[in-house]
């Protein structure tokens, strides 16, 4: 690479090097995905693979379709009446976009943490236990709740007040409670849509640490508009941007997808370079 760019983001070295591509096991294979609201395409022609036990970050400017995209992975967009999508997302080889696929079954394997902490108006314990109970994981429920809360780095803070309302926690604690709730039902993948955008730096750090610790068990896909965060937590990074089509149409597009290191230090697309160096917009 002849160009030298001054990254605004220092890439942390704590991250393990990614194994060579041929050793990576794809968990999602996205092919030609278009996501459309009514008549307006939010993202067009996205193709990429998400690898097992890695943290994959999705970055890009606001409105480029990051949320729309990540919600395709667990069929969350099904809840929006005007939404439709074309293309395929294969999960362990099976097309989860197909009409004969039960979205409920998909979501059992692919959990999600949302931008705004959304604990249920139940006790801390029940916030975690409810999903387990409903999904029939009733054995050793106490142990399961404790394990999930411990994994979410929240146990020590709440172990003495499990009966208190989940809403009595601080924002950062609420978000960790939501993570505990998501991992208590033992998903395969955890999707996170800007999980730290409403949190202070310390809570953010707690969540990032927890992803580091849990990625041997789960596969994380995280949307973030914070590039430092992507650089810190992600093994792979996908950069989305807004492209102009004919007739003033604007849609999100996958510009570049590569190892995080590469995206932040030696991107191959000019738009990625502009974005990661802060020259965007």
């Amino acid at each position: 690479m002849s160009i030298t760019i001054e990254p605004t983001v220092r890439v942390e070295t704590r991250r393990q090097p990614i194994p060579p591509r041929e050793r990576l096991e794809p968990i999602f294979e996205v092919e030609g995905l278009d996501a459309i609201y009514g008549a307006k395409a939010a993202i067009k022609d996205v193709s990429m693979e998400v690898y097992k036990n890695l943290v994959t970050a999705i970055i890009g400017p606001s409105g480029c379709g990051k949320s729309t995209y990540i919600r395709c992975f667990n069929r969350m967009n099904d809840l929006i009446p005007t939404f439709r999508q074309t293309g395929t997302i294969r999960y362990h080889g099976q097309d989860i976009c197909a009409s004969n696929i039960d979205p409920v079954a998909v979501r059992r394997n692919i959990g999600m943490v949302f931008q705004r902490p959304n604990p249920f108006p139940k006790s801390i314990y029940d916030n975690v236990a409810w999903g387990c109970r409903v999904l029939g994981m009733k054995e050793d429920l106490d142990a399961r709740v404790e394990r999930a809360l411990t994994q979410a780095a929240l146990w020590d803070e709440v172990k003495d007040r499990l009966k208190a309302s989940g809403l009595s926690l601080s924002g950062g604690q609420q978000q960790r409670l939501c993570i505990a709730r998501a991992i208590a039902v033992e998903p395969d993948v955890v999707l996170m849509d800007e999980p730290a955008s409403a949190l202070d730096p310390i809570a953010t750090q707690a969540i990032e640490q927890l992803m580091h610790q849990l990625k041997s068990q789960y596969t994380f896909v995280i949307v973030t508009h914070n590039m430092q965060q992507a650089a810190r937590v992600a093994d792979m990074t996908a950069f989305f941007s807004i492209s102009q089509g004919g007739e003033g149409e604007r849609y999100g597009e996958l510009i570049e997808y590569d190892a995080t290191e590469k995206i932040f230090t030696a991107p191959s697309d000019k738009r990625t370079e502009d974005y990661v160096t802060g020259r965007f917009g």
């Binding site: 969350m76 809840l79 409920v104 979501r107 139940k122």
Partner: protein, 330 residues
């Protein structure tokens, strides 16, 4: 005003010295007057009712409450509230029992399940039902509903559940406690369902998505998230429905058959406090009869108040237990 008049200095008012603001004062006066007016009005009504029933109270005392009688023949006059109280309880709670699941079901259907295209029309239909004057529902009850119930539902219930005293021989002409229950159900269904609908709509979509993202079904989400969130409000809506059912006079008079008896058979005729007052007030001849009717009104008033208090207590307990009240978190 020229540019020079506009000062860039922020005007600072002194913090000390309370200023009398006209708006605040007049608002306080209007609100105070309204509150006082309502209190006086309620007081007057209660006083009038107690005063009007004095003769009957003196004559009958507490025995009035447990006596089953309504004999206005001069010289042999004997009055009691028991059968009407019984009828009021049976019809209002019966109606509530049927209306509660139905209206919650309708509300759920409209907010969570129904496709967009039919949401609008069905909602409008339910709202229209709320607007139908009760006397028309009573009329329909007597000409259409009563006969249909008698020939189909009542006889079917009797054959299948005849061993339960409530489901005795079908009514002779269609007028019965049962018909009154159904008419009342129809009247409270729109209230309860439209309040429930609003409550369900208020449940933040983030909570619903949070539940569904765990891989729960829609129904599991409804049970685990929507119901607990709306529970307190639904209970309040049910109380409103119950009050409505207890106080409804005309439509019940039209279909209940008007007999001052206590019978467990739902298909027999009966009467309620409100319905008796509406039906007999015009024709009351003796002062004792008139006074006894007002005494019935007093019983209805006290009973409704009691039922409301108990119900509110339940609502508060439910709300506290789950840390949620209508529209927000405690």
């Amino acid at each position: 005003m020229s540019a020079a008049d506009i000062s860039t200095e922020p005007t600072r008012r002194p913090f000390t010295g309370r200023r009398v603001r006209f708006g605040d004062v007049s608002l306080q006066l209007v609100a105070g007057a309204a509150a006082l007016g309502v209190t006086v009005l309620v007081g007057l009504i209660v006083w009038k009712i107690v005063d009007g029933s004095r003769l009957a109270i003196v004559k009958n005392g507490w025995a009035f409450l447990i006596r089953v009688a309504w004999n206005p023949v001069p010289g042999r006059e004997l009055y009691g509230a028991a059968s009407f109280l019984f009828g009021t309880v049976l019809t209002s709670f019966g109606a509530l029992l049927i209306a509660a699941p139905l209206s919650i079901g309708v509300a759920l259907f409209l907010t969570e399940l129904a496709p967009r295209v039919i949401q609008g029309p069905v909602t409008a239909l339910v709202e229209t039902l709320a607007a139908v004057p009760s006397v028309l529902i009573g009329l329909w009850g007597i000409y259409v509903l009563g006969p249909v119930l008698r020939t189909s539902i009542e006889s079917w219930l009797h054959t299948v559940f005849g061993f339960i005293p409530l489901f005795g021989d079908p009514s002779a002409a269609g007028a019965s406690i049962f018909t009154a229950i159904i008419v009342l159900t129809i009247m409270i269904l729109p209230i309860v369902s439209s309040i429930s609908r609003e409550l369900f709509r208020e449940v933040p979509s983030e909570l619903k998505e949070g539940a569904l993202a765990l891989g729960t079904t829609r129904w599991e989400m409804v049970r685990g998230v929507i119901f607990p969130y709306a529970r307190g409000g639904i209970a309040a809506a049910l109380i409103l429905g119950l009050s409505r059912a207890m106080g409804e006079a005309i439509a019940v008079t039209q279909v209940v058959g008007g007999s001052p008896t206590i019978q467990w058979n739902l298909f027999s005729t009966g009467d309620t406090l409100a319905s008796k007052i509406a039906a007999a007030y015009q024709g009351a001849v003796t002062s004792l009869q008139l006074s006894s009717l007002i005494y019935l009104g007093l019983v209805l008033l006290v009973f409704s108040l009691l039922a409301n208090l108990v119900a509110q207590w339940i609502v508060r307990r439910v709300a506290r237990k789950h840390g949620v009240t209508r529209g927000g978190h405690v």
